[in-house]
């Protein structure tokens, strides 16, 4: 029987596990979270506002389809190895606990579905308490049933700002403004052209409509072509400066407005979690949308490495529906279902339909002028408090030299938060995604974890 290991139990990973299992494979799913569902399905049955829970029927159906699948949660995959068989190493146990158990899995095929995380552009004052990523608002609302503040400014770029604003409102908070970097003209050009393609992605259009209706009901201003260019406060957030920006996102002098608030949610899109794909040796494409890099896959979600498939946000940012379709295709392919099989038809159609939506997201791509809203002493790397000035000073040094001199990217998050921004500041791709250890684990645990030697097909653990 084909052994398939799926890394990540978000929409893409769950769909992959379900379809691989239904196609007869022996499937194991690993996720570092305590529950399955990924970033999309993180509701708590007892206290999440039901209006924040989308597509729960689909979620239940997927969970039922996992009957024959071994699901391992609280499992951090920290290393993967190409070869025959492919190998996946994980540490299992409560997050950041002192003694977690090591486990090594061998597989004929692996589906990578680790998703993405918020990309947040630094801005002076963004380390003040009360500033979070936009995704954090969703995570706190769904997982914990809590809101961060009472007067929130939601700022950044892209349609994701809208559900974030809705969550704040549903939890009883006031959204003072939604600040979107793309201008009205850019949005009309990006989303208005061939609108039927958008309507074809009907679910999405409906969802957007409901968010806009919530904004209208609460009379929340939606400011376009603008950015939060400074966050003010002593011990926590007290106000922000909202400013018009030009096409390249450079702040336009003289357009500053001060807006009082106690929280700021910032989100400028998402950045894929490429580490595992890079460690396997998968080919990574150049900028596709949002100026980011993604894992290259073929029509069956196969990467450039035999047996390694990728699905969901690591192949391109496209939302949960795209992730579900890609996951289903990846799962079938990983289980060895031939390309001509009819089971591919529905997910292939869904994937094609979602691409129309995905392409529109480029409307909100980060533009290079954003670095003009930084001061020299603005912290860019939050872990090590490395400033824009210090990083810019080493723009001509090697990536390694810059990091050693400034410590940017060398703190506990290993450049996950600042990497892309540092690259923008020094104008280079400095390879922040290459991490020898894929997830946050304790060094002592790695020392204690004995990796079985690679012995080929017949090895059993």
């Amino acid at each position: 029987m084909t052994r398939v290991v799926v890394i990540g139990a978000g929409p893409a990973g769950l769909a992959a596990a379900a379809s691989a299992s239904q196609a007869g494979a022996d499937v194991v799913v690993l996720d570092e979270g305590e529950r399955v569902g990924g970033q999309f399905w993180r509701h708590h049955p007892a206290f999440t506002d039901p209006r924040l829970q989308h597509q729960l029927t689909r979620f239940s159906a997927l969970q039922e389809a996992l009957e024959d699948v071994r699901v391992v949660t609280s499992a951090s995959v920290w290393r993967v190895e190409p070869g025959t068989p492919l190998r996946v190493h994980a540490l299992v146990g409560p997050v950041d606990a002192a003694r977690r158990r090591g486990e090594t899995l061998e597989a004929d095929a692996v589906v990578l579905a680790p998703g993405a995380h918020d990309r947040v552009l630094p801005v002076p004052g963004w380390t003040l308490p009360g500033v979070t990523s936009a995704g954090a608002v969703q995570a706190l609302a769904k997982r914990d049933g809590v809101a961060l503040g009472t007067r929130t400014v939601v700022a950044g770029a892209g349609p994701f700002l809208l559900p974030v604003a809705q969550s704040v409102a549903l939890l009883g908070g006031e959204v003072v403004e939604v600040v979107e970097a793309a201008s009205a003209g850019t949005i009309m050009r990006g989303w208005g052209r061939r609108p039927w393609q958008m309507i074809a992605a009907a679910g999405k259009a409906g969802e957007l409509g409901s968010y806009l209706a919530t904004l209208a009901r609460h009379r929340t201003p939606y400011r376009l072509g603008s950015a939060v260019t400074r966050i003010h406060g002593g011990s926590s957030v007290e106000a922000v400066t909202v400013q018009h920006i030009d096409r390249d996102w450079r702040p336009i002098p003289g357009t500053e407005r001060i807006v009082e608030c106690d929280s700021v949610a910032l989100g400028h899109g998402f950045t894929p979690r490429l580490e595992a794909a890079i460690q396997f040796g998968c080919e990574i494409t150049g900028a596709r949308n949002g100026g980011d890099r993604f894992v290259r896959v073929d029509s069956q979600q196969l990467t450039s490495i035999p047996g390694v498939h990728a699905a969901g946000e690591i192949t391109g940012i496209g939302g949960a529906d795209a992730a579900l379709a890609e996951g289903e295709i990846a799962g079938l392919a990983a289980a060895g279902v031939p390309a001509a099989d009819l089971r591919y038809r529905a997910p292939l159609t869904a994937r094609r339909r979602m691409r129309a939506f995905t392409e529109r997201l480029a409307t909100h791509s980060i533009r290079p002028g954003w670095t003009a809203w930084l001061d020299d002493d603005t912290i860019v790397c939050r872990c090590e408090a490395a400033t824009r000035g210090a990083i810019a000073e080493y723009a001509d040094a090697s990536s390694r030299g810059m990091r050693l001199a400034t410590r940017a990217g060398l703190g506990p998050c290993q450049g996950r938060t600042c990497g892309r921004s540092v690259e923008d500041i020094i104008g280079a791709a400095s390879g922040f995604d290459r991490r020898p250890v894929l997830s946050s684990v304790r060094i002592g645990e790695l020392a204690a974890h004995r990796i079985p030697p690679t012995t080929g097909e017949e090895s059993k653990q």
């Binding site: 995704g135 997982r143 872990c383």
Partner: protein
């Protein structure tokens, strides 16, 4: 169902299933760590940024946004220069 944890010696009530960060926020705490001379708490909410770490039952460096709070957890603030 509610649970109780202690934060720097003070008893805080939370809902069973909330993360430690969720319990702290629900009790009006926005920050629980000092880093580079300033206060930090939740930033990414999903275990990426490491800004939210606390000491839990004597173990340092536990991400408050990722760990579910358990009855009786002893949580302490962390300070890093």
């Amino acid at each position: 169902m509610s649970i109780r944890i202690s934060f720097d010696g003070e008893a805080l009530e939370g809902r069973d299933g909330q993360s430690i960060g969720g319990v702290l926020l629900a009790n009006g705490r926005r920050t629980w760590r000092t880093a580079a001379g300033a206060e930090r708490g939740i930033f990414c909410g999903i275990g990426i940024c490491q800004d939210c770490v606390v000491t839990v039952n004597g173990v340092e460096g536990v991400r408050a946004c990722q760990r579910t709070a358990c009855e009786g957890d002893v949580v302490e603030r962390e300070v890093r220069a």
